[in-house]
Symmetry: C2
Subunit: 244 residues, 2 copies
């Protein structure tokens, strides 16, 4: 399969994920605020899906675009690190949204399995970003150290995306059981699959599909950025590119 | 890292997952029956974790054991297919347990995001098993076809494990919110993290840890079964082994 159809699919699914999670929370969940109410909670799914899944996934595949292979790698490394930093900031603000809402409503924090996996995912992501910055962006980092750490960095990158998707799916599932209880106000319970439930379930399917496309792109060795040779012969497709 | 410590960790985590999910449902959820009641539902998590995660993951890494590399591959292919068939049967019985319970209690089927992802996972697993049987076990299957389908079979194998873990984590999270409502009988709600909640959350962590160890073993190219050469020179470590 060619790279660009997969990449286009990745971009389209990513945009759809952001549109769906925003529309769900803006229209069905009552919109956004930062006042400790349920409207503050609504930032949580939007920021986690946008940061931890969509921006994260797009940053992960940025080296795979063949058009960039003939160019200097540094701007693409800065773009990779920059998008991931934005993703990390959005994720942390997304966690603050739910902590603030829970504290204001006197709801305990970090008790569900969803929250355990989610917190671990963000912590791993933060460690990965700091480790990646120290290893691949600091000029004093030796090439041998980069060579040593690169396979772990790449593997951990994929694993953090898997953990992000686990967190998002368990979170959307949990939220729908909480929100769609069908007790009054003409609202229907989750089990009757009202339009909101169908819409949010479909958001979950989109998130899984986006994650699978990103993992597919990452797993294809032919799409890895070739490492430049040191004798000026051009590019060699290697599994690990440890160039600065 | 050496193979055998990883493999031992995989075996130990797998056993712990089965022990934890069985103990949770036997002791805290009231045990097992096949009478349409909640005790029938209790088979669902036990069979899905045992089949779709633990047996599945162990079957996936069976070719990676270096001790088997010098031996004829056929018995190991039969073991791989046999464990996966057992895993598939347990998964289907696990689905029957929840459908039977829902039908007896007049609860709609397949409405939650957990159930959507779970059903798709089992359907993909069944297709993968049938496709794998046709491609790699039927003697009439041509070598060229095996060569063509092998990378997809391996990639899909890992993806199905990821989907299984997503299904299990969202399912355990959902079950704990359903079961631990804290309404009477001295039971505590999930948000107070009673012993059952801690225990089942820890089961979720064990499942994720097991999945990560299996994915780690699968991703290490040095641990792939070497393909025999046709000139009697021994074994070559290749990414794809298309030998029958």
């Amino acid at each position: 399969m060619f790279f660009y159809p997969s990449y286009l699919l990745c971009l389209c699914l990513g945009i759809l994920c952001v549109v769906f999670v925003s529309y769900w929370n803006a229209v069905w969940r009552g919109g956004f605020a930062w006042d400790g109410s349920g409207k503050q909670f609504n930032w949580h799914p939007v920021l986690m899906v946008t940061g931890l899944v969509v921006l994260y996934g797009n940053a992960a595949v940025v080296y795979r675009v063949p058009l960039t292979w003939g160019q200097n790698k540094t701007p693409w490394k800065l773009l990779h690190a920059g998008i991931l930093l934005l993703a990390l900031i959005l994720s942390i603000v997304g966690l603050c949204a739910v902590f603030g809402n829970h504290n204001a409503q006197h709801i305990p924090n970090v008790y569900s399995l969803h929250s355990w996996i989610g917190i671990c995912t963000v912590a791993l992501f933060a460690s990965q970003w700091v480790g990646g910055f120290a290893a691949f962006l600091l000029p004093c980092s030796p090439v041998e150290f980069r060579k040593l750490i690169k396979p772990t960095h790449v593997w951990m990158g994929g694993i953090i995306l898997v953990l992000s998707i686990i967190s998002c799916i368990s979170g959307i599932n949990e939220k729908l059981f909480f929100a769609l209880k069908g007790n009054g106000n003409g609202s229907q319970p989750y089990k009757d699959l009202p339009p909101e439930a169908l819409f949010a379930n479909f958001l979950g399917v989109l998130i899984v599909a986006f994650g699978l496309v990103v993992l597919y792109i990452l797993s294809n060795q032919k799409w890895q950025r070739p490492e430049p040779t040191h004798d000026g012969e051009g590019y060699r497709p290697l599994q690990c590119d440890v160039e600065s």
